[in-house]
């Protein structure tokens, strides 16, 4: 009997830990007492890429709680239900189905690796519901003929052609023809495609570029892979991989005495990462203004983190917060009552004024159209300045726009 009870207790504990679920609060404010907007989220808050998506999801939840506390959207709170996909495509699909059917979700936001996008979309299609994928954008979202239900909503990544476009521009400009560039991808489809595309762009500009693919999950020692970059004689390094792979490779290069410059992509665009290395050799593109710039949205985010509590540092919450701004804009545009078809229409013509609160430079807006579900992205390079002991921008904001599936137009905008 004791053994039976023991195993029963153990089984319950296992079940509790394996099926982690987070349910957002549907607005405690007296002002937000109307019927809620039901929004679902399938998020990789545990599993191999959790270090990226757990804080991202937390930032998104924080924004929704902050929104509900301010009265929601015209008195209607947002009921956000978050479910943990563990980055598993099959699980992501099953959870999306549950969110649509059991929670009557208007839309499902997918926060996880790009491999999870299509399984979620498959569940949304029969219902005509929009899927907001907050990860690297895939070709099905790019102009001129995006999937009508699929929108790319993360600011920490672009499309296959655009994600590393600013890094390509910067390295080509600074390094000049003949410069040697070492690029790393993680062994997942989107990362490989992004880095392969950037490698070809660099080569087309006359630079020598070599791409290496890091196993997923990364092995204990990336020294042998770093060695390839050193043997290649790389002066520059960049990559399109999640934080754990990129940082491990840069550190492995450093350990072997590499003296080149690493140009990081937005998934490592956090203040704490620049503060950690304090190195002129390490510059990073941010997809939102860093906390160091103290923009109005930072103050709101910090206040919300204080009010509602957060297990993550504020810089890690910025991209999730920006996602919340986008979802709020879409719901406002949808109005009340909002159904799945109306929400999809709202997303098709969405305009988000990210410049208003300093997320992007003043005047910069993200716009989706029926033929473009990626929109414009703004990226800016930052580094740690040893002289002033703070994070400083390197050059202007870059505006990146898809003109085709993988064709992009990059332009410098705003102040220097």
């Amino acid at each position: 009997m004791r053994r039976t009870l023991f195993f029963l207790a153990l089984s319950l504990l296992l079940a509790a830990c394996g099926a982690k679920q987070e349910v957002g609060t549907p607005g405690a404010s007296p002002a937000a007492t109307g019927e809620p907007y039901n929004v679902g989220a399938v998020a990789a808050i545990t599993g191999p890429v959790a270090s990226t998506y757990a804080p991202f999801t937390e930032g998104f939840r924080l924004y929704i709680r902050h929104l509900n506390a301010r009265g929601g959207i015209n008195g209607h709170p947002v009921n956000l239900v978050v479910k943990d996909s563990q980055a598993n495509p099959a699980v992501a699909g099953a959870l999306a189905k549950e969110l649509f059917e059991s929670n009557n979700a208007l839309t499902v936001v997918m926060l996880g690796p790009s491999s999870n996008i299509l399984p979620v979309l498959e569940q949304a299609k029969p219902l005509g519901a929009a899927v907001l994928s907050a990860t690297g954008c895939i070709d099905q979202q790019a102009p001129p003929d995006p999937d009508p239900l699929l929108f790319c909503t993360a600011l920490l990544a672009g499309g296959i052609g655009s994600h590393l476009a600013p890094a390509v521009e910067y390295i080509a400009q600074q390094g000049g023809p003949g410069a040697k560039v070492f690029l790393s991808a993680l062994d997942i489809p989107s990362s490989r495609a992004i880095v392969d595309d950037a490698t070809k762009r660099l080569q087309a500009k006359g630079l020598e570029a070599r791409m290496v693919v890091v196993p997923n999950p990364p092995p204990a020692d990336l020294g042998p892979i770093a060695r390839q970059g050193i043997d290649f004689g790389a002066q520059w390094g960049t990559g399109g991989a999640p934080e754990e792979a990129t940082m491990a490779l840069f550190q492995a290069l450093q350990r072997q005495g590499w003296r080149g410059t690493w140009v990081g992509d937005p998934p490592i665009g956090y203040d704490d990462i620049l503060e950690r290395f304090k190195s002129d050799q390490f510059v990073v593109f941010f997809g939102v203004s860093p906390l160091a710039e103290r923009k109005p949205f930072h103050a709101e985010l910090e206040a919300a983190a204080r009010e509602f509590g957060s297990a993550f540092p504020v810089p890690r919450l910025m991209y999730g917060w920006a996602l919340g701004v986008m979802v709020e804009s879409a719901l406002r545009q949808c109005g009340w009552p909002c159904d799945r078809a109306k929400f999809q229409q709202a997303m098709n013509n969405l305009e988000v004024d990210y410049g208003a609160t300093g997320i992007w430079p003043a005047g910069a807006k993200l716009k989706f159209t029926p033929t473009d579900h990626i929109g414009q992205r703004y990226f800016r390079l930052y580094k740690w300045d040893s002289a002033s002991n703070r994070i400083v921008p390197v050059g202007p904001w870059y505006r990146v726009e898809h003109t085709g599936k993988r064709e992009v137009f990059v332009s410098a905008v705003g102040q220097q």
Partner: protein, 292 residues
């Protein structure tokens, strides 16, 4: 092989041997493949991270406390979960360790979150590099890991051969009934094996967290190191050391001369090769096969 490659092989072999020795110790004692060994590695690193509040000056104490905590945890895990399953099929106990791994990883995510951490940064310590003869470069942490692996494995072998409790552990492992009849507290001996194994994995975890990063998924390194006991023989510590060198060499050569993607595959290829060609491993015992 050039000097850098040799250095990389030795560093990686030290890492694998620390974990692999733990698998062997637990298997020898309780005939269980502890598939939660990687989670103990990860937890020790988190204990270290949490204890960094004590400051840089107390670093040796911080390391020691982290290792003591993980050893105690492993002993408690044995007494609370494995001991009650005495008499059950080994397969059930191995499955239980899989469940245990899920629980431990889930708890780590709840307590410390999934965010990547860098314990040395918290302590304000820079992981300096060391120039070795031949132009090879490794870090101080990597050098420390190699020294720790030598001391740990040497210490364990000496302990099992010389110390009274070590001999009791061997006796309990070889014939539990006879040992029990001679007054050996076999469950305490087995719990001690789990604790020693956790210390080995813990040292590897501390080195990984200090050298690379700390997040719940570093537990997967434990699974990669499973190639070591399977190739070396589940009952042989020396086999584990030789297999560590074999796996580390294969992994480095594959990356350098074939494809970096093979780094993720090589440990499992080694497992497959041994299962097909020499299932009892390099220095393992044939009769143990049935139990696995």
């Amino acid at each position: 092989m050039d000097a850098q490659l040799v250095a990389q092989v030795v560093v990686l072999a030290a890492f694998y041997s620390l974990i692999g020795t733990g698998y062997v110790l637990v298997y020898r004692a309780s005939r269980v493949l502890n598939l939660a060994n990687g989670e103990l590695l990860m937890l020790c690193a988190y204990f270290f991270f949490s204890l960094t509040v004590l400051g840089q000056d107390l670093l040796p104490l911080v390391v020691l406390l982290a290792l003591v905590l993980v050893a105690m945890l492993a002993g408690v895990i044995y007494l609370a979960t494995v001991r009650p399953m005495t008499g059950y099929p080994v397969f059930s106990i191995v499955l239980m360790t899989v469940g245990l791994a899920i629980v431990l990883r889930g708890l780590a995510e709840l307590v410390w979150t999934a965010q990547a951490r860098y314990p040395l940064d918290v302590l304000g310590i820079t992981n300096q590099t060391l120039q070795l003869p031949g132009g090879a470069v490794i870090t101080v942490v990597e050098a420390g890991q190699v020294v720790a692996a030598v001391l740990f494995i040497g210490g364990v072998v000496a302990f099992l051969r010389v110390a009274r409790i070590g001999m009791q552990m061997r006796a309990a492992a070889e014939h539990p009934v006879l040992a029990s009849q001679r007054g050996v507290n076999i469950h305490m001996a087995f719990a001690l094996s789990w604790a020693l194994a956790a210390i080995g994995a813990g040292i590897a975890g501390l080195a990984f967290a200090a050298n690379v990063r700390l997040e719940p998924n570093i537990a997967e390194q434990g699974l990669r190191a499973l190639a070591v006991p399977l190739a070396g023989g589940l009952t042989s510590i020396f086999g584990a050391v030789i297999a560590s060198l074999l796996v580390a060499t294969s992994e480095n050569l594959a990356v350098q001369y074939a494809d970096p993607l093979l780094a993720g595959v090589v440990p499992y290829l080694v497992i497959l090769a041994f299962i097909v060609l020499r299932p009892w491993g390099l220095l393992g015992e044939k009769e143990e096969l049935e139990r696995v």
